[in-house]
């Protein structure tokens, strides 16, 4: 009994903690990095007071937010109102269960890993919809409606991009997807799909220039308008955690996961996990760079881009890729 249940259970809990704690700490430093990079883009200094170089700014902000009073609007639907941030946070952390950090470094190496990630990211819309509806207020509701339509639209093209990659791999297992890129990273032969995936990831995580669900110039704070204190912190953490998750997904699908760029001397001395983290940081920097550079999309332009540009393009690439693989006898 103890040997068969308790010890494996404790090992699983230890593995979960070993992933969640670093993810949450990296969320804090991602927020700091975002503020610093935006400040540098706009020729400002950014946070530089709390701790050396302002490094502890995010922790100070989190403490301040958590110690504030948690206000629940009296006309809100209280159960759903409190459940929404919890669901958002849980979903943004659940995806990490299948991410392979290095060869064999994965909590659960399931056969349908990429499908699991896709399913988890498609569930994220519920947190936003529930928050918007249960707040019983105009701005959050509008934000929720925008977000529902936006996330469903961009999921379609993400699905096709994933199918293109899977055609080249022949397996849904994330470890096998990375191993298939040993000769060449998929970002090179599938460059247009890489770009489509990155832009769709921006839309999927509600980041600028597609952050219409929380568009502060027209909707106050979108679906988070009525949230305060700890429940707001959960939304905030979840947004950044899902950003890191989407970057990890991009790295695994297109940038060869833990593989070094060339398997020759100066590159292969670094262990796989370091390459994996470096690539995630690169994609995250692109996220922040885009935020500092591009203006927000208008809603009809956003929908047009999703349905009339990305969907036909990715569908065409699925057909082209499968045709290419069949003609040159490369089907795995």
């Amino acid at each position: 009994m103890i040997n068969s249940i308790l010890i494996p259970g404790l090992i699983i809990i230890a593995q979960i903690l070993a992933i969640i704690v670093p993810v949450l700490i990296s969320v804090a430093f991602l927020v700091y990095a975002e503020r610093k990079i935006l400040a540098l883009i706009q020729l400002r200094k950014g946070p530089n007071v709390v701790g050396p170089f302002g490094l502890l700014q995010s922790f100070a902000d989190a403490l301040k937010l958590i110690t504030k009073e948690n206000i629940i609007p009296s006309n809100s639907n209280k159960m759903v109102f409190l459940l929404a941030p919890i669901i958002t946070m849980v979903l943004s952390l659940a995806g990490w269960a299948v991410i392979p950090f290095a060869p064999g470094w994965v909590v659960s190496d399931i056969n349908v890993g990429i499908m699991y990630l896709f399913a988890i990211s498609s569930l994220a819309v519920y947190g936003v919809i529930m928050a918007g509806w249960s707040s019983n207020s105009k701005y959050p509701f509008l934000g929720a409606l925008r977000s529902a339509a936006q996330m469903v639209s961009y999921e379609v093209s993400i699905g096709f991009v994933i199918i293109t990659v899977l055609l080249c791999v022949g397996s849904l297992n994330l470890t096998k997807i990375v191993e298939a890129q040993e000769t060449v990273w998929f970002a090179i032969p599938l460059l247009p799909m890489f770009i489509v995936f990155f832009i769709s990831a921006l839309a999927e995580t509600n980041r600028l220039p597609f952050d219409l669900p929380e568009d502060e110039s027209s909707l106050v704070a979108g679906f988070t308008t009525e949230y305060s204190s700890a429940s707001f912190v959960l939304f905030f953490l979840a947004e950044y955690a899902s950003m890191i998750l989407m970057s990890a997904m991009t790295v695994i699908l297109f940038l060869g996961g833990w593989l070094p760029p060339f398997d020759v001397f100066p590159f292969n001395i670094l262990p796989g996990i370091v390459w994996f983290i470096l690539k995630i940081i690169f994609i995250l920097f692109l996220f922040l760079w885009v935020r500092g550079t591009f203006p927000r999309y208008r809603y009809d332009q956003l929908m047009r881009l999703g349905w009339k540009v990305f969907l036909p393009l990715s569908l065409l690439w699925v057909v082209l890729t499968s045709g290419f693989l069949v003609i040159f006898n490369l089907v795995p």
Partner: protein, 205 residues
């Protein structure tokens, strides 16, 4: 085995309870949320069966897409909750009748052993529990033995999609549309018009 049994009962009890809540919840939005909970638990049962691909497809298709649109519509409706309850007793006999028919049919299937586990396994000529991923097994069956049925269902879905688009498509006149091609190809030659204005007279634009 112990963990397996416990999780089976855990997921199935939650699935059944949330299915009951779907029809008994007062607020339609809560009903949809319970429906989603029921879907998620059903997919967990699929995982316990070893049907991982079906489990993920259930979440992606039903929870990620169908239920979102469902919730979208229910949230937008302005329903009078009290009026909704009024017809309950009136429709009760039909509901009970339908439920009974379904129960008897299921009972007959299980009683005659046509639906038992052994029978289902006999249908497929594939290895029962092999190292092959069940995504591959499904693909092998779908694109060979059931190729025509698969194609026909695809065409039916396509026609249904075209049908619903045609039903909702309507041309409205007098709507200003942004034509990006025209905007991009605008230049000073066709955008600016020079006019000579005589002093003290003005012009019509």
């Amino acid at each position: 085995m112990f963990v397996y049994t416990i999780s089976f009962y855990f997921f199935s009890i939650i699935a059944i309870l949330s299915a009951l809540m779907v029809i008994s919840a007062k607020n339609p939005v809560h009903s949809v949320l319970f429906l989603i909970l029921s879907f998620v638990n059903t997919s967990a049962l699929f995982v316990l069966l070893g049907a991982e691909f079906l489990a993920m497809i259930l979440i992606v298709v039903y929870v990620g897409a169908v239920a979102v649109l469902f919730l979208f519509v229910v949230m937008m409706l302005d329903i009078n909750f009290i009026k909704l309850r009024e017809g309950f007793l009136q429709y009760l006999p039909f509901g009970v009748l339908l439920g009974l028919v379904l129960l008897i049919e299921l009972g007959m299937l299980f009683y005659t052993n046509n639906f038992s586990e052994n029978n289902l396994v006999d249908f497929s000529n594939l290895p029962k529990f092999s190292d092959v991923e069940n995504t591959k097994i499904l693909g092998n069956v779908l694109y060979t033995d059931y190729f025509y049925l698969f194609q026909i269902s695809g065409i039916i879905l396509l026609i249904a999609m075209i049908g619903s688009i045609v039903l909702t498509l309507r041309e409205r006149s007098g709507v200003k549309k942004q034509k990006i091609y025209n905007q991009v190809h605008l230049n000073s030659k066709n955008a600016i018009e020079k006019k000579k204005i005589e002093l003290g007279k003005g012009i019509d634009v």
